[in-house]
Amino acid sequence: MTPEPFFALATLLFSMGIIGIISRRNLFVVYMSIELMLSSVNLILALFSRLHGDMHGSVIALLMIAVIAAEAALFLAIIVLLYRQRRTLDSDVFSKLSQRDTL
């Protein structure tokens, strides 16, 4: 097994996640981009686990999935809450705290 394609894939996924967070405006897509970043790290962990020939990395990846699930619960809750408040998920709407008027 050559690991390079997998590393390339993980890098690609992580970069896609960052670009998604920066450039997309819909909160759902932003949330999915964060999940993409975390999942790409899981891929790296599983890969290193295979390269080392032990199970540490895979176990860490499993633990990570639990953490990601906890984060997802909170994220979906806040997205539902924000949608109820404003009837939109466009991130530009949520700028009440920004300092544009004071500076």
């Binding site: 992580f14 975390l38 790290v41 860490i60 906890a70 984060e71 806040i78 809450l81 924000l82 004071t102």
Partner: protein, 495 residues
């Protein structure tokens, strides 16, 4: 077996208390006061059980046959535990009136506070990167939920959203760093990483350095260093007052627990690589934080900006550690204690006042405050003096040791910049004192009853002064030297 159980009892009690409160909140018969009392009871129990461990100088790994070296108990983590539990107890007790005056608090709020304290304690005790990450997530997820606790308030929800998106993104960097270090070392235990770094050449440690840098991104984000500061002012502003107080005083300290453990011990041989990076970030943090603090009119936002500056001071000492200063690590510990005392007091007074009004507090609201509430104004003045580093307060000694360590490691320019920003900070801290004392009040003087919140804030004010000028002559009460000795002892237990 039993003695090990006794050692982890403080943490166990916190998490048991959190679950107990969750079960209680299901029952509608209890009032907020009951929940508050239960939460404070569990936290105090944990605090009292933790106290004797402060004299325990050996390093103990908990249940080594099961957990390996994941979980460590030493003086360093004990001191941090004491600060976390004390911070949470003070947050809960000082804000009793605030909870009563707002209708959105309920039992789960107290459970979340206890969960996040548990996460922070685990973070201070963790001797392994994945444990640290999970502990950090337990603490952060609770704090995210707390920041958005005012469900019907748009500002609060927006603060939670901003904090969550940026926090989760930087959390991904922490775990990426862990993955890279695991790839290089084959283990995530801190001792193994240190042994690997010592035993291998430059080309092999490249992956560890990259991973360490990614972990540093997360830590810098959570303490609000400047390229990663965009959330601080907004989140502190949007969150309810007790949560802001908890975040600013307690959660910020927690990050330094893991940062010191990582960069003081385990990355010690390659620390010099990061010192230039850290110096640039420190300069940006000091200048950017000062700018943010000067431009604010809202007091919560001003204190948020100034908390960025305080992170900058501690970053000075962290880069001094990398350059081989012996005094730097105790200096950070002492500064953390001083910042903890002063910020708990300052935010405590703000939320104490905010519990009696619905609007956000600006400088204007403090005009003539000294006539209306002379004692509270005097205490506020003490906390402001301590935050700005005025002599005879604990804040002065904290800054003194930080700058000494910077000069010791040859970072004279950085120390100079730190002193300059300390001068600048006099502007925005003394502005509040001037507002309180030099303007007449237009409201009639009302008598306020003396209550527990006032007594606790007064106690913090006394401690702030005592930490600046206290002598060690009185038996059983540590003076200034005693505080410094505690800090030194805690850092010694790391090595």
């Amino acid at each position: 077996m039993l003695d090990q159980l006794l050692l982890i009892l403080p943490m166990a009690i916190t998490v048991i208390g959190a679950f107990f409160l969750m079960l209680l909140s299901w029952n509608k018969r209890f009032t907020l006061k009951d929940y508050n009392l239960v939460a404070v009871f569990f936290l105090s129990l944990s605090f009292i059980l933790e106290l004797p461990q402060l004299w325990n100088t050996e390093v103990i790994y908990i249940f080594p046959e099961v957990f390996g070296k994941m979980y460590v108990i030493d003086n360093f983590s004990t001191l941090f535990d004491l600060m976390f539990t004390a911070g949470a107890i003070l947050t809960l007790l000082i804000n009793t009136d605030y909870f009563k005056s707002r209708n959105y608090f309920n039992g789960e709020y107290f459970a979340l506070i206890l969960f996040s304290v548990f996460g922070m304690m685990t973070l201070a005790h963790s001797n392994e990167l994945v444990t640290a990450f999970i502990a950090l997530e337990i603490a952060s997820l609770s704090v995210y939920a707390l920041a958005g606790y005012h469900k019907s308030n748009r500002l609060s929800s927006e603060a939670m959203l901003k904090y969550m998106i940026l926090g989760s993104m930087t959390g991904a960097f922490f775990i990426l760093g862990t993955a890279l270090i695991y790839g290089a070392v084959g283990s995530t235990t801190l001792g193994d990483i240190a042994a690997f770094i010592k035993g291998s050449g430059d080309s092999e440690t490249l992956l560890v350095i990259t991973g360490g840098t990614f972990i540093m991104v997360t830590i810098l984000f959570k303490i609000g260093a400047v390229p990663f500061h965009s959330w601080v002012v907004d989140v502190y502003h949007g969150a309810p007052f007790p949560v802001t107080m908890f975040m600013a005083s307690t959660f910020k300290i927690a990050l330094f627990a893991i940062a010191l453990r990582l960069y003081l011990v385990d990355f010690a041989p390659i620390n010099a690589i990061w010192s230039e990076l850290l110096q640039v970030i420190t300069v940006l943090t000091l200048i950017g934080g000062s700018w943010l603090a000067i431009t604010q009119d809202n007091l919560k936002r001003m204190l948020a900006g100034s908390s960025i500056v305080h992170s900058g001071y501690m970053l000075i000492a962290i880069s001094s550690i990398g350059l081989g200063s012996q005094e730097a690590a105790p200096a950070i510990m002492f500064y953390l204690m001083s910042y903890f005392l002063s910020s708990v007091g300052a935010f405590g007074i703000l939320s104490f006042i905010a519990s009696r009004s619905q609007k956000s507090l600006t400088f204007e609201d403090f005009k003539g405050f000294a006539q209306r509430r002379p004692y509270l104004a005097a205490m506020m003045a003490i906390f402001m003096l301590s935050l700005s580093g005025f002599p005879s307060t604990i804040g002065f000694l904290g800054k003194f040791y930080i700058f000494t360590s910077a000069i010791e490691s040859g970072q004279i320019l950085l120390a100079g910049l730190g002193i300059l920003t300390a001068f600048i900070s006099v502007y925005y801290y003394f502005k509040l004192i001037a507002m309180m004392y030099f303007y007449p009040t237009n409201e009639s003087q009302k008598r306020f009853p003396m209550d527990l919140s006032g007594v606790l804030i007064g106690l913090m004010a006394v401690l702030v002064i005592w930490g600046g000028i206290g002598t060690g002559l009185i038996p059983f009460i540590p003076g200034v030297d005693g505080f410094i000795d505690i800090a030194k002892q805690a850092v010694l237990s790391l090595q």
